[in-house]
């Protein structure tokens, strides 16, 4: 779809020259400092961006590189200690930096819109949606009745099927995707010259994200709005943007049409970023992911020459003395690197598996194979149910879950929010007690449902790495204390012995000693997550639940953490239950996959089989929504509507209301059993597997692992 919906490079270039109007946004050599305790710290070190009318421009980079600061500078909505010290920003030819406050206000009312990451907090919780959207029109001087009419129209345009009903609601009564549509409707109310979107889909499920991105693309065609799209997710940017700029340490390092950037990156940073993302179809057995060593320079750090020199594998003396120009390296393609012609020769920071790593690689591939298929399962769940009671409603969060987790394997758990992934994890941990009749076995013995009844061995054996280390690490405790306490409590270690173990443990997660006496706030996100991992491994666990452990991290850090998890698994023979919404990550790390929908297992099987197809229709829809970088896609399946409420799940097959392969009566009336469609591959669907195979092979290109691996390499 991406190629079809996005104007090609040539077309966008031609379009830009054809339009007579001035470019929507021209940022010229913008320089911005933050004054921190009297010291000027450079945050934006000369950034130039040009967005033509109707163009969509993506700004990518890791956190702290200044993406959002650029956006706020365009809005002229900066922190009090921010100073624009150079350059200019022109919106449709008008100088933004010379404007007075009153002019700015008019401009923000009429020409500039911004959509933020969290739609829940950009809407006023105590005002009805209808009134909020109408207000956006009233500001433009439209009278009340008319504004309401237009609000309804606008909500329909953002594909809200029942605008009248939605207008009567309060924001919290809408789902995240719906809220973001409302925010977009408000942003478009003024028909803005420039629409700034700052990570607009980051908090949303992949299926909802895909819908919102489609919406942005189609609205852009309809309104001819120029878009500045900020995201850390390269896949998302690939889907909606014509051109992309890569920001690093407040400096534009590469700029190019989207396809060209992903096909032919010419800056080592871009090359590194693209390598960090698990290739579609790549597996842990194929070797570790590449990472970008080191950290981005801090805001205000003195940088003599090339901003990326300290982390660059191609660095030469000249990189530390002379800053490279933004070289023209192709049609509309610029890269700020002395060695842009060799950027793709960037040496890997991680040795590939097959090469120097001798034993490591082969050990990994052994692990990846379903060798333990006949082994006694580590965890066995048999018809596990969990019903929450809420104001008389019964909400069935888990329905008849039967899964096994084998020793040393990774079971990936995927599904939209509300599918019961977290409830399942909490049940295993003993925080949530399942309904009577549920069977949870650990190494063949029943596992008590409440943590207080579990033996120390059982407590030690099941640990978790939470999503956000900011929340899971006590911010008042030092790393030494956090890890040490786990050792004391789980293994009963004290004194000298404990100190030694702290050192080995933190070394194994690649934390160095000075970090031990730091508090979490002094560490970067990746280092914090390493502390959390060290804590989980303190008691030599048999199963570690990973609840979206990398979703809060930058891609380069994510790659390092995934590598760490894989190597720990190899050494410690630990099993993972890996929850993630990023299917590329799940596929990379998992041996087997379970797909959950409304508390039910829809499909379970080996990762290659589940992702390779034939898929359950729901898995098929999830896969088709995932933003992936490379490779052609078949026609996308859109999941209509929202996940039904678990309080009143649909009759028959719970997925029938949204199923792209809906058969008819039988799906509405009869719930299909979770049956073995082929050996080791269980599916809950009325359609026979051979029919699914036929249907899906017609439209979807084969995404078998070997195949995608070969074609996925950027060459």
């Amino acid at each position: 779809m991406s190629a079809a919906e996005r104007p090609t490079t040539g077309a966008s270039g031609a379009g830009a020259t054809a339009t007579a109007g001035p470019p929507a946004l021209v940022i010229d050599d913008l320089r911005l400092n933050f004054e921190v305790r009297g010291i000027q710290r450079e945050a934006i070190r000369g950034v130039s961006i040009r967005i033509d009318e109707g163009e969509s421009y993506g700004l990518v980079g890791e956190s702290g590189c200044g993406k959002s600061t650029v956006a706020f500078a365009v809005m002229r909505y900066l922190a009090r200690n921010a100073r624009i010290v150079g350059g200019s920003i022109r919106l449709a030819g008008r100088d933004l930096l010379a404007m007075r406050e009153s002019e700015l206000r008019t401009l923000r009312q009429t020409a500039l819109s911004m959509v933020y990451q969290n739609p829940g907090s950009s809407l006023n919780p105590s005002i009805r949606v209808g009134d909020q959207v109408s207000e956006a029109f009233q500001i433009l001087g439209v009278d009340r009745a008319e504004s309401e009419r237009r609000a309804r129209e606008m909500l329909a345009k953002v594909q809200i099927s029942d605008p009248d009903r939605v207008m009567q609601r309060y924001p919290h009564q809408l789902s995240g995707g719906m809220q973001q549509r409302v925010v977009i409707a408000m942003a478009l109310a003024k028909d803005p010259t420039l629409l700034i979107m700052d990570e607009p889909t980051t908090g949303l499920d992949a299926t909802v994200e895909a819908e919102v991105l489609d919406l942005v693309s189609s609205l852009r065609r309809e309104f001819r709005t120029s878009v500045l799209f900020i995201s850390h997710n390269l896949g998302v940017v690939a889907r909606v943007c014509d051109r992309v700029g890569v920001l690093y340490a407040g400096r534009m390092v590469e700029e190019s049409p989207t396809d060209e950037l992903f096909r032919n990156p010419r800056h080592p940073y871009t090359v590194g970023l693209l390598r960090c993302i698990p290739k579609w179809g790549s597996r842990k057995a194929d070797g570790p992911l590449d990472t970008i060593p080191g950290f981005p320079p801090a805001v205000g750090a003195a940088i003599a020459a090339c901003v990326f020199a300290d982390r660059c594998g191609l660095v030469q003396d000249i990189c530390r003395t002379t800053e490279p120009d933004l070289f023209d390296v192709g049609e509309d393609h610029r890269a700020r690197c002395h060695f842009h012609d060799r950027a793709q020769d960037l040496p890997r920071a991680e040795p590939p598996a097959a090469g120097t790593g001798t034993g490591a690689g082969t050990a990994g591939s052994n692990e990846g194979a379903p060798a333990g298929a006949d082994e006694e399962p580590l965890i066995r769940l048999e018809s596990v149910n969990k019903t929450f009671r809420q104001e008389g409603h019964e909400i069935r969060a888990l329905a008849d879950i039967s899964i096994v987790i084998r020793p040393g394997e990774t079971l990936g758990l995927v599904g939209e929010s509300g599918s019961g992934k977290t409830t399942l994890a909490r049940t295993l941990l003993g925080i949530t007690t399942p309904d009577g009749g549920s069977v949870v076995e650990f190494e063949g013995h029943p596992l008590p449902m409440k943590i207080a009844q579990r033996t120390p061995e059982q407590i030690r054996a099941l640990q978790i790495v939470f999503q956000s280390p900011d929340s899971s690490l006590n911010r008042r405790h030092t790393v030494r204390r956090i890890v040490g306490r786990a050792l004391t409590k789980l293994v009963g270690m004290r004194g000298e012995q404990r100190q030694e173990r702290i050192y080995t443990l933190t070394r194994s997660v690649r934390l160095d000693r000075p970090a031990l006496d730091a508090r979490p706030a002094q560490l970067s996100g990746g280092l914090k997550q390493r502390v959390a991992i060290a804590r989980a491994f303190a008691g030599d666990p048999r199963l570690v639940l990973c609840d979206e452990p990398t979703s809060a991290l930058d891609v380069s850090v994510q790659a390092a953490i995934l590598n760490l998890l894989v190597s720990l698994q190899r050494e410690e023979k630990v099993a993972y239950l890996f929850i993630s919404h990023d299917l590329g990550v799940v596929r990379y790390i998992s041996d087997r996959i379970a797909v959950l929908y409304l508390g039910r297992v829809m499909e379970v099987g080996d990762a290659d089989v589940v992702f390779g197809g034939p898929h359950h229709p729901y898995t098929e829809a999830l896969l088709s929504a995932a933003p992936i970088l490379e490779g052609e896609r078949g026609p996308r399946i859109r999941l209509e509507g929202e996940v039904p409420s678990a309080a009143s799940p649909p009759s028959g097959c719970v997925f029938h209301t949204r199923c792209p392969r809906f058969l008819g009566e039988i799906c509405v009336n009869q719930e299909p059993p979770l049956a073995e469609a082929e050996p080791g591959h269980l599916m809950r669907c009325h359609i026979p597997i051979e029919e699914l195979r036929a249907m899906q092979s017609k439209e979807t290109p084969p995404t078998g692992s070997g195949d995608a691996n070969g074609s996925g390499e950027p060459s």
Binding site: A43, G294, L527
Partner: protein, 314 residues
């Protein structure tokens, strides 16, 4: 375990979100000049930049100094010099800067020495209320459930009783003394502080470090006092200083009514109580100066708590 060093190990310094750093978010690492500043030091620096906090602290320190060394620095004996009765109710002069009272005692000396009683009683009373209130707040906030329901309702009931009435009743029953004042005020403050602490604990309970502790099967008391308490110490400290201000006020009120600290202590409230009858004769000095002392101390304590609140509750 692999101990191969990684390039990422080179530094523990983190890149910091420019916006966060620009806002001076607590504890963000100051990696620009490589110094390692803890959250605590950062707070301290912010406090020292706040003039209100500094002025408040200086005044409070002055009174603490008087409380410790009062008898040494007072120009006269606060109980009166031999023959001082002959100089009663003299207006301020070069000998007696604040004049003398109805027994001829030096008002300045009595104001200086009188700071001890009120400071000790106020601090002890507030400390008592803070300790009890913190324990109750932690328990109700963390454990929740029926315990929270029952205890919170009881606390609400106590909050409905006026302080002075309760104080007078208790002091009549127990007999007026400094100890009784401490107990009464500590008791009255407990539910107020418990409510503040409970409110601070509720969001902490949802943090995953609490879940992580529970997954290690930690005792409840460990989770409450070792995991959660350090994270709510800011609001507790602020509440403590606010309450010290109120405690001074309450003590003075009770003493003025005759239920608090008893004569012959040179307490400020007592001084006012025994001297205000002379106001009608335009003899203002034995009343005004202790009153000013009270005001300066209460205002100073509030300045301190204001400064703390700004740093802790951003």
């Amino acid at each position: 375990m692999i101990s191969r060093p990684r390039p990422e190990d080179v530094g523990t310094e983190a890149g910091v979100d420019p916006v966060l750093q620009a806002f001076g978010v607590e504890g963000q690492h100051d990696s620009g000049d490589g110094s390692r500043s803890t959250a605590r030091r950062e707070r301290f620096r912010l406090l020292l930049r706040s003039p209100t906090f500094i002025i408040g602290t200086l005044v409070v320190l002055f009174w603490i100094f008087c409380a410790i060394f009062g008898k040494q620095i007072a120009p006269y004996n606060y109980l009166g010099e031999p023959g001082s009765i002959l100089h009663k109710l003299e207006p301020p002069s070069s000998q007696h800067w604040f004049g003398t009272d109805d027994l001829g005692r030096d008002v300045l000396s009595r104001v200086i020495v009188g700071s001890r009683g009120i400071l000790v009683v106020a601090l002890l009373a507030t400390a008592l209320g803070t300790v009890a209130g913190t324990a109750i707040g932690l328990a109700t906030g963390y454990v929740g459930g029926w315990l929270d329901e029952v205890v919170s309702r009881i606390l609400d009931a106590f909050l409905a009783i006026p302080v002075v009435i309760l104080g007078v009743l208790a002091l009549v029953a127990l007999g007026p003394s400094s100890v009784t004042v401490i107990l009464v005020i500590g008791f009255v403050f407990t539910p107020i502080i418990a409510r503040t602490v409970r409110a601070a604990v509720l969001p902490e309970r949802e943090q995953e470090y609490v879940a992580a502790a529970e997954l290690r099967h930690e005792r409840r008391s460990y989770v409450m006092f070792v995991e959660i308490l350090p994270n709510v110490s800011g609001p507790i400290l602020v509440e403590f200083t606010v309450r010290v201000g109120y405690a001074i006020f309450a003590i003075v009120t009770l003493t003025f009514l005759g239920f608090g600290i008893q004569p012959p202590a040179p307490d400020w409230g007592l001084q006012i109580a025994s001297q205000y009858i002379y106001l009608s004769g335009h003899i203002w000095w034995p009343t005004l100066f202790p009153a000013l002392a009270i005001a300066s101390l209460v205002v100073a304590v509030n300045l301190v708590s204001d400064g703390l609140a700004r740093v802790f509750e951003r």
